[in-house]
């Protein structure tokens, strides 16, 4: 329960925000890391803005039209906008940005992929730009709303990747002072800012005079820095500490469920023990994921029931009752699947083979105590008769294993504001192979689902898309082709002096509306 | 035989009386009856003793080293402590400086320095005394200098510590001191490190550092063991001069000739107890205690040697060795045959040790050749302490040597004890490390080790320098006995001409690395041809070989070549 802001927003002051990850490259068009979005959002505006419900609002584009075939988007641009380096914002600038994203020389590893079948953009007049796709691509506007499509000053873009990696220049409410790797980034207010999107709480320049992100990778340190009052807010409060922070009268926790793929376990549908639907289902139903998640995360994260999070446009609430913990059912399923025998240690066997699940778990990159969770699941799985074995992997040989399908189970989460996240997870074309890293690590090869996903690309009607995505989610559950685990919730710890930190749909905090009360 | 011994002692006494100079102390006529009771020199003296101690007891976990010693040293007086090796002389001396060691328990009736009770001295008070009021020359001359610092620095240290001279004068003062103690080329030497110096040079540097502040009392523990007679004479002269100037001297020595030369009063120690105490005249002239008598009896004299030369065991041809432009050995050739002893004498720094090291193959000669069967050769080092692995107990030291000699494992302990007995030690030392032994005890362990593998050749570098005369006699007898029995050959390096004369068939006289004379021992000792040899013989304290200087009284009986007398140790 967030308290009512004390009084009206105060202008000025500064805010220091402790973050847990940092980008190696600041250019959101190029960088492979989603945290680049957090770092550049204060500086970069997008053409459109996305709200929590999935609706699109004008921002740097004042209006737009989509051709009936869904191939052409025509944007009317806002006037009077200029970049913080003085360059005027116009259609040519937008074109430069869009082309920059897809230019192979940019080596874009995130944005370009979200651009889908982009063909070209054309400057119609200084205030009008036309974007053309080779095929219909409905998630475009949602993608366009992200910081990865933030519009940068063409002058800065012209400086080349090296300069961009250290500094980006946009039209946003803040301007970068300095980015110091491993330490953080500082911004100052853009006094001329006057083009906030309608979904923001105010217009005009930001309230904060100064904004600073400090990179504090270590959880305990970040938390300590907050509790000792050295900084004003932190990202990623460890779930175990949530109660402690809430109990502190000076602090508060701001929560925001992340959209996109939940933290799920992906059984290998293509080879190994999990090719059998019954075995997959037995694994999912035989383990009390809900309780485990609740206990290990102290209620901070909700258990997941679908492949995507409730915060995603297109989430199907019906999935929540579609399956539940059912040990007897699971045992029955295993019996039916011929894994009826048990060995001395209680593991199920078939033809003398133990029901073994090989899981390349990457401890080094695991966040949010996922390692602890995995160990708990391992213990629970044992009760259900599964022998989970963690395969020794280093970050380097994880990739080849994943690409080659050399695993029985793999885990990851994938944040994205749009239901199109399902296409990443389930499209047949996204099954990885040694030359291509796709996210269909479940290797779920279902043409029907593939069809629904393609259909969804063709319609920009939200309701229609939602219906298609619901079918996908339900089928994934019915087929037990994935195991939903928990919904990642952004846990932002902040001093009560800090007001109005908001979130963009991707669940990154934004600071345009934020202000510090002089308590 | 006893008569012989007493005769010799009387000779010494004669010199003693004769030497007495006016004004240098009137205590020659101190009453005899003070002997063997607590000395109370102060009773009949006006001056306060520089140091005085009564009923001193010092014990270590393994031994009661000192048991009720009392002594006093007055200004201008020289008190000498003689006695059996391991009898507690060094420990007594160290205690006078408050440095008996961490493991030591010390009790004393009274310990006073300059009349001030020292038993309650703080560490700071002790420090102001050490080096400034009391100078101390340690017995272990060869290892008593910091191996990582130039000796000049070591000498300067005393001056710096007590601010005895302004900073800028110190270097000059150091050179003066080194000159005073007879170090040639002091500028060069001051910059050298201990390992670059000969034993005698190290000892002189040590003396220089002890006398640097002109202390009121100088404790000198075996200060001349590594010195050749010429330098020794120079040092003794220096000490005598200082004594005359009022400095007190506590001299510890087994060299009765040295003692006789300097001491006004002599304490004889045995097993931690003072067995005899009196003026030099009394103790040397009319010893009462049997141990004192045996000591005096055991002074070595020239031996009658009748050995049969065997095969050549060492043949050295034209050896040359240069260190940084200093030629330490310059064209030395010699031959040693089985069953014989070649004595090597020569002033300190003349290249004796270097020659030995060349023979042993520890140094490679710049020129020249050595033929020797090294497997059959053993060494007794001039510096026994550093020749022992610091972690090894005496037991392991001997065990290893016996192993090399092929003694079966189960016999080794028995043999070790035998060897120790032969050198006059009991098995109590077996489990001690050499660091915790007295100087003489260490030297004897070194001898025992060299004997253990039953070698055919032994290179002895000052093998008996730290031994009291009675033990020395025992060891020398042991060596000659082995020679007669087994035909062992010795390359025998010593400053002690009496000893060399006693054991050698042939003698090689070195000077500045060159052999100035060599030949039959008797021949050389009685009729030296080379002026240097003559000079050497002349400088022997007590004047045994005094020929060149007619002003010194020749000792009757010099020509009496008698077999060594076995001490009646009881």
């Amino acid at each position: 329960p967030q308290e009512e802001p004390a009084g009206s927003p105060a202008k000025g002051g500064s805010l220091v925000f402790g973050v847990n990850t940092e980008p190696l490259n600041l250019d959101p068009h190029a960088s492979p890391q989603d945290v680049t979005g957090l770092f550049t959002r204060p500086v970069l505006d997008s053409l459109v803005a996305l709200d929590d419900k999935g609706d699109i609002h004008p921002w740097l584009a004042s209006s737009w039209e989509i051709s009936d075939d869904g191939l052409t988007y025509t944007f009317k641009l806002r006037t009077g906008v200029k970049f913080s380096d003085g360059t005027p914002f116009d259609a040519a600038a937008v074109k430069t940005n869009l082309d920059h994203i897809v230019d192979p020389a940019t080596k874009s590893q995130l944005a370009a992929a979200a651009f889908g079948p982009y063909e070209k953009s054309t400057v119609v007049d200084p205030q009008t730009i036309e974007v053309k796709f080779k095929e219909a691509y409905s998630p475009f506007l949602a993608a366009l709303a992200t910081a990865y499509f933030g519009i940068q000053s063409p002058k800065q873009l012209a400086l080349g990747p090296e300069a961009l990696a250290k500094k980006v220049v946009g039209t946003g409410p803040f301007v970068i002072d300095a980015f110091v790797p491993h330490q953080g980034i500082t911004y100052h207010r853009n006094p001329d800012y006057d083009w906030a999107p309608a979904i923001a709480k105010h217009t005009g320049p930001a309230y904060l005079e100064r904004l600073e992100f400090k990179v504090i990778v270590e959880d305990a340190v970040r938390l300590g820095a907050l509790t000792s009052g050295q900084i004003d807010a932190i990202a990623g409060v460890p779930p175990v500490n949530v109660k402690q922070v809430e109990a502190n009268p000076k602090l508060t926790i701001i929560r925001k469920q992340a959209p996109g793929g939940n933290y799920n376990y992906y059984p290998n549908n293509e080879k190994g023990v999990f090719t059998d639907q019954k075995v997959r289902q037995a694994f999912r139903d035989g383990i009390d994921f809900a309780t485990v998640v609740d206990k290990l995360y102290f209620g901070a994260f909700d258990p997941a029931f679908s492949a995507i999070s409730p915060a995603t446009a297109g989430y199907d609430k019906a999935t929540e009752t579609q399956w539940k913990y059912d040990p007897e059912g699971a045992a029955r399923l295993l019996d039916e699947a011929d894994w009826s025998a048990k060995d001395a240690e209680g593991y199920r066997t078939k033809d003398g083979q133990r029901l073994t699940v090989r899981w390349p778990f990457l401890k080094a990159l695991a966040r949010e105590q996922r390692g602890t969770l995995a160990e708990q699941v391992q213990a629970e799985a044992k009760k259900a008769g599964f022998d989970i074995q963690f395969v020794d992997v280093t970050p380097n040989d994880f990739t080849p294993k994943a690409l080659a399908g050399d695993y029985d189970l793999i885990d990851f989460s994938w944040q994205r504001a749009d239901g199109d996240a399902l296409r990443n997870l389930f499209a047949i074309s996204n099954i990885p192979n040694p030359n291509f890293f796709g996210q269909n690590l479940a290797r779920w090869n279902d043409p029907e689902v593939d069809g629904w996903l393609t259909d969804a690309l063709r319609t920009t009607d939200l309701a229609e898309r939602a219906a298609l995505y619901a079918k996908v989610q339900q089928k994934a559950n019915a087929d037990a082709s994935i195991v939903p685990v928990y919904v990642f919730t952004y846990l932002l710890g902040a001093s009560k002096n800090v007001q109005d930190i908001t979130f963009e749909p991707q669940a990154f905090p934004t600071f345009y509306d934020a202000w510090v009360s002089k308590a | 035989m006893g008569g012989d011994a007493l005769g010799r002692a009387r000779l010494l006494l004669g010199r003693l009386v004769d030497r007495r100079l006016p004004g240098c102390g009137d205590h020659a006529d101190r009453p005899v009856h003070h002997r063997r009771r607590t000395p109370s020199a102060a009773e009949d003296r006006v001056s306060t003793p520089v140091v005085e101690v009564t009923d001193l007891h010092v014990s270590f976990p393994a031994v009661d080293a000192v048991r009720g010693v009392s002594l006093a040293v007055h200004p201008g007086e020289c008190v000498a402590i003689v006695g059996e090796s391991g009898s507690g002389k060094s420990v007594t001396a160290r205690t006078l400086l408050g440095l008996s060691g961490e493991e030591a328990t010390v009790t004393a009736g009274r310990l006073a320095i300059d009349g001030v009770d020292a038993s309650r001295f703080s560490e700071r008070q002790w420090r102001s005394i050490r080096g400034r009021k009391i100078g101390y020359v340690l017995q272990d001359a060869l290892v008593s200098l910091d191996s990582l610092r130039p000796v000049g620095k070591e000498v300067a240290e005393t001056l710096k510590l007590h601010r005895a001279a302004p900073r800028h004068e110190i270097p000059g003062k150091v050179l003066d001191l080194l000159t005073e103690v007879g170090v040639p080329e002091p500028e060069v030497r001051a910059k050298q490190y201990p390992h670059e110096l000969s034993g005698g040079l190290r000892q002189r540097a040590l003396i220089a550092s002890a006398i640097a502040c002109g202390p009121r009392l100088l404790i000198a523990d075996e200060p001349t063991t590594a010195l050749d007679v010429t330098v020794q004479a120079q040092i003794l002269r220096l000490l005598a001069e200082r004594k005359r100037a009022g400095q007190a001297l506590l001299l510890i020595s087994h060299d009765l000739a040295v003692v006789a030369e300097l001491a006004d009063r002599i304490l004889v120690m045995k097993d931690g107890v003072v067995v005899e105490d009196g003026t030099a005249v009394q103790v040397l002239g009319a010893p009462e205690h049997p141990y004192t008598k045996s000591l005096l009896a055991a002074i070595p004299g020239p031996g009658f040697r009748n050995t049969v030369p065997g095969d050549v065991v060492i043949r050295a041809e034209g050896l040359v060795k240069t260190f940084k432009g200093r030629t330490a050995v310059d064209g030395v050739s010699f031959e040693l045959r089985a069953g014989q002893t070649l004595g090597v004498v020569g002033e300190s720094g003349s290249g004796k040790t270097t020659t030995a090291r060349l023979v042993l193959g520890l140094l490679r000669p710049d020129r020249g050749t050595v033929e020797v069967d090294r497997r059959q050769t053993q060494v007794i080092y001039q510096d026994p302490l550093s020749s022992f692995d610091p972690r090894f107990s005496v037991r392991r030291i001997l065990d290893e040597a016996l192993e090399v000699g092929g003694t079966p494992r189960r016999e080794r302990v028995k043999r070790s004890i035998e060897l120790l007995e032969q050198v006059g030690l009991d098995d109590g030392v077996l489990d001690r490390r050499p660091l915790k032994l007295s100087g003489g005890q260490r030297q004897r362990v070194a001898i025992a080790r060299a004997l253990a593998p039953r070698p055919r050749v032994i290179v002895c570098d000052e093998p008996v320098s730290a031994l009291d005369v009675s033990i020395q006699a025992q060891v020398l007898d042991l060596l000659t006995g082995l020679q007669a029995e087994l035909g062992v050959a010795y390359l025998f390096i010593s400053h002690h001409l009496g000893v060399v004369h006693h054991v050698s068939d042939h003698v090689l006289v070195l000077k500045d690395g060159r052999a100035v004379e060599s030949g039959d021992a008797h021949q050389i000792f009685t009729a030296p041809a080379d002026p240097y040899t003559q000079e050497l013989l002349a400088a022997v304290p007590g004047g045994h070989y005094d020929q060149a200087d007619p002003s010194r009284r020749a000792l009757p009986g010099r020509e009496q070549h008698h077999r060594l007398v076995r001490p009646q140790v009881g």
Partner: protein, 259 residues
């Protein structure tokens, strides 16, 4: 002090050989409902985030931990000593070669070196030991070399030569034991470091994998819960410290004995 050290070593040796004797439960009995309980009669040293008994895990962790700590150190000491002696006694050319090789190894980042070893040998506890040993051996080599250079000039080594001892004997009996003093100090300390290093490698997916209990891994896992459940990290930490302490006490004693 010595008695405690010996007793503790005996205890952990027992734990390593027969953990079942010291505890009734199993190290991987996870129970989400019993997570993060403080020390109590039921759970002597509390439970971890998975509700596993910390005491039991420490007991079962003794074997892999000791293996990593002692194994890596022993291997490094042996290899390092051999190289150091070779360099010090083998002449100028050998010295140059060995020491330059050592420098190459030292120049590689730990992580890279570990990855390299694991790539060549495959992952697993034993190979992690190799990796750590490979990284620490050069330091022993340099230390032994330096010590040997000084000691071989010592009088007692000369004396041993002229006593007629063989080269090998002199090295093993006189040079090494005297050179060993600082080495032993370093090695006893390194046991603890190696243990923790093994844990950080396992964190990278290179060592024993969960749920295998391993002290170093427990120690680092505990840091996420430190503010609410100190016992998860502190007790394994105490186990490591006590082990290092005991080994030092006993080791020094043994060394003095032998010397």
């Amino acid at each position: 002090m010595r008695i405690f050290a010996v007793a503790f070593l005996a205890l952990i040796t027992l734990a390593a050989i027969a953990p079942g004797l010291l505890t009734g439960s199993t190290p991987d009995a996870a129970d989400a409902l019993a997570a993060l309980q403080g020390p109590s009669a039921d759970h002597l040293l509390g439970t971890d985030a998975n509700g596993r008994d910390v005491f039991t895990r420490i007991v079962y962790g003794a074997a892999p931990s000791l293996l990593a700590g002692l194994g890596a150190t022993a291997l490094a000491v042996v290899v390092g000593t051999a190289l150091g002696l070779l360099a010090a006694l083998g002449g100028r050319v050998v010295d140059e070669i060995v020491m330059r090789l050592v420098e190459i190894v030292l120049s590689l980042p730990t992580l890279l070196l570990a990855l390299l070893v694991i790539t060549v040998t495959g992952p697993g506890t034993v190979n992690v030991i190799f990796a750590i040993a490979l990284y620490t051996a050069p330091s022993y080599a340099r230390l032994v070399r330096a010590q040997t250079m000084v000691i071989r000039k010592a009088g007692f080594v000369e004396a041993a030569v002229s006593l007629g001892l063989s080269r090998g004997r002199i090295v093993t009996r006189h040079v090494l034991p005297n050179a060993f003093e600082p080495l032993v100090v370093l090695a006893t300390i390194e046991v603890g470091t190696a243990l923790v290093a093994a844990a950080s490698l396992s964190y990278l997916g290179l060592g024993p994998q969960p749920p295998a209990p391993e002290w170093g891994a427990m120690l680092s896992a505990g840091r996420d819960y430190f503010s609410v459940a100190w016992w998860i990290a502190v007790f394994p930490g105490v186990a490591i410290t006590l082990t290092v302490l005991s080994i030092t006490v006993v080791g020094r004693r043994l060394q003095r004995r032998i010397a």
